[in-house]
């Protein structure tokens, strides 16, 4: 039987790359986003590329109450669920404006937890499946330039690690992805160092491979694991004086 992947937050560049990678791997694909009409072109694209069955679904990360219904109304229960949505927002605005701050926190943390809780219950009951959460290296240490986003991702990383621990005993695999810089629309206004920056296709390739290999935590690109090790190792009394 064709396995199915559900992609939550399917309009982002990373989601497009992930969907294409899974389509090439002969998965049936469920695309979920706030405005499903924006998924039409991607749906066509995936179908043309792989002949796969592709369906689209309305999903709003911030509409927590709808998550249970959303998931249980899917035509097929997915084998792999990838939580891609995220909101970088503006640190500066968020410092002064709760609306922006709460949008950052709720999209990246609460929304993800809310929907994955539902997925986790179902997969635990079925005793199979894989959950992939795209977190961020920004969650590994708070920095002045993006600690709102970073703290939400830190929460998400901790959630995933707890979920992994719990679902292991139910035969469900949970993988955390810690991307560093990636060239996407979200980052196009930042100056990124080319050698450290991945393309969405690189991230997608890494994820596809690592899910099969049942990895727990992947960094992409791989050297971010070591960069973050160094950044975490800087003593706080020095770190706080830096302007990061």
């Amino acid at each position: 039987m064709t396995p199915t992947v559900l992609i939550l937050g399917a309009t982002s560049d990373m989601a497009v790359a992930i969907a294409r990678r899974y389509a090439a791997g002969n998965y049936a694909i469920q695309l979920a986003a706030r405005k499903p009409e924006q998924l039409y072109a991607l749906q066509q694209d995936l179908h043309i590329r792989s002949g796969a069955a592709v369906t689209t679904h309305a999903f709003d990360a911030l509409d927590f109450d709808s998550h249970h219904t959303f998931y249980h109304q899917l035509p097929v229960k997915p084998d792999v669920v990838i939580c891609v949505f995220g909101y970088l927002g503006s640190q500066e605005t968020g410092q002064q404006n709760w609306q922006e701050a709460s949008r950052i926190l709720h999209t990246n943390y609460t929304g993800a937890v809310s929907v994955l809780n539902v997925v986790a219950e179902d997969m635990a009951a079925r005793r199979s499946g894989a959950i992939v959460g795209i977190s961020s290296v920004a969650g590994e240490r708070g920095r002045m330039s993006n600690y709102l986003y970073g703290s939400a991702k830190a929460g998400f990383t901790a959630y995933l690690s707890g979920l992994r621990n719990r679902l292991f005993h139910a035969g469900v695999h949970v993988m955390s992805v810690q991307p560093g810089f990636v060239y996407t629309r979200m980052t196009e206004d930042l100056t990124l160092p080319p050698l450290l920056t991945a393309r969405p296709e690189d991230v997608a390739k890494d994820i596809f491979k690592a899910v099969i290999a049942k990895k727990n935590v992947i960094y992409t690109k791989w050297f971010w694991r070591y960069i973050m090790f160094i950044i975490r190792s800087i003593p706080e009394f020095i770190f706080k004086k830096m302007k990061l």
């Binding site: 309009t11 497009v16 629309r185 196009e188 930042l190």
Partner: protein, 443 residues
Amino acid sequence: MRKQLSNWGNYPVLTCEESSFSQEEQLKQYVDTHDHIIARGNGRCYGDASLGEHSVSTLRYDKALLFDVETGDFECQAGMTLDQVLEITVPKGWFLPVTPGTKFITVGGAVASDVHGKNHHAEGSFSNHIIRMDVLTGKGLITCSRDNNSDLYWATCGGMGLTGIITSVRFRLKKIATAYIRQKQIKAENLDEILRLFDEHAHYTYSMAWIDCLQKGKAFGRSILIVGEHATPGELNHKQGRDPLVLPPKMKLTVPFNLPSFALNNFSVKAFNALYYGKNYKKVMEGVVPYEPFFYPLDAIHHWNRGYGRDGFVQYQFVLPIDRKEGLTAILRAISDKGWGSFLAVLKVFGKQDDLISFPMEGYTLALDFPVRKGLFPFLDELDALVLQYGGRLYLTKDARMQQEVFWKSYPNAAKFMDIVRTYNPGGKFRSVQSDRLLLTPQ
């Protein structure tokens, strides 16, 4: 965000604001709220045609929208690269109707440049194969084709993005039975022989010649003619025949950084050319090769443009009418006298074409690379004068420096083109550094 942008020639480098879109609404909103916009695909044009105050990258607008495997009709968003098109269509037995020498350009770019390929004499340029397209003009999103809004259609083909931003294109692919090309290479001693060989091989679908433009005397214009046809399954060897529509995996080379400019000098170019000419040890060589090295020999070396050093290079491509081949001798002689040859000099014969401002016309076209250095631009102005004298013109997609008179004297339909651009791009919302330079921006 403002950043330093340049296209494939690394010349000129300009500060532009670049943004992208992945949904039509995002683009519409951007166009409504900005001026001085020009679409930019994969940055493989050579000069300043896709640079401007606001360069809008189409690369994220790259979805396949339709592929009819019975008829070969294919539609995609304009930011899809030819590479991606081939990846989707070749395994199903369909090929691009026309392809330039790199597959790393976008479909939108192929239309805006109205690219030509090795089959121009037989199958025309890219616009010959378009069924319809959508263009976000200054008057909104308009669908056009030969029958519907045809003025917009013709001004958009080869129109360098001045009618607006091409958002999607439907075109017809070409049926193939294998992913291989049966190719034949023939050495020519000089210019007369190569032109004669072109005539003799005019029945081949694909043809082009590599020419060593540093030679003088008897070997002036020595070259290798390369012709080809899509191979039939029966022409493949056993290994190729196992999966006739799938190419074997290949190695990719890259030039990791800009080479110092002294790496390219008369000596190294001569040595390269001698090796290239010498590798064909027989007068005629035949074989069946994958389509990639046949159509895209330089794509195998990523960033080959860095071989020209930090100052960049310009590509000089001109076409002369078919009855003015003496102009070719005059121009080649001027180049060999100066001793400024390029690695890559490609000669081709174009078939008939009569578009608004598309580059091809029936005649001979030659493409040359020149690294940017002191004295180059005055020298190219001298070549321009020869091109004009012989009734030819230059390719806008590769241009970074032509003077406006040269353009206006050599493109007879330019005024007609401008009338249409004025209709669809009132006030010159869509404009590039090139269109400003050549007085192609409507006021």
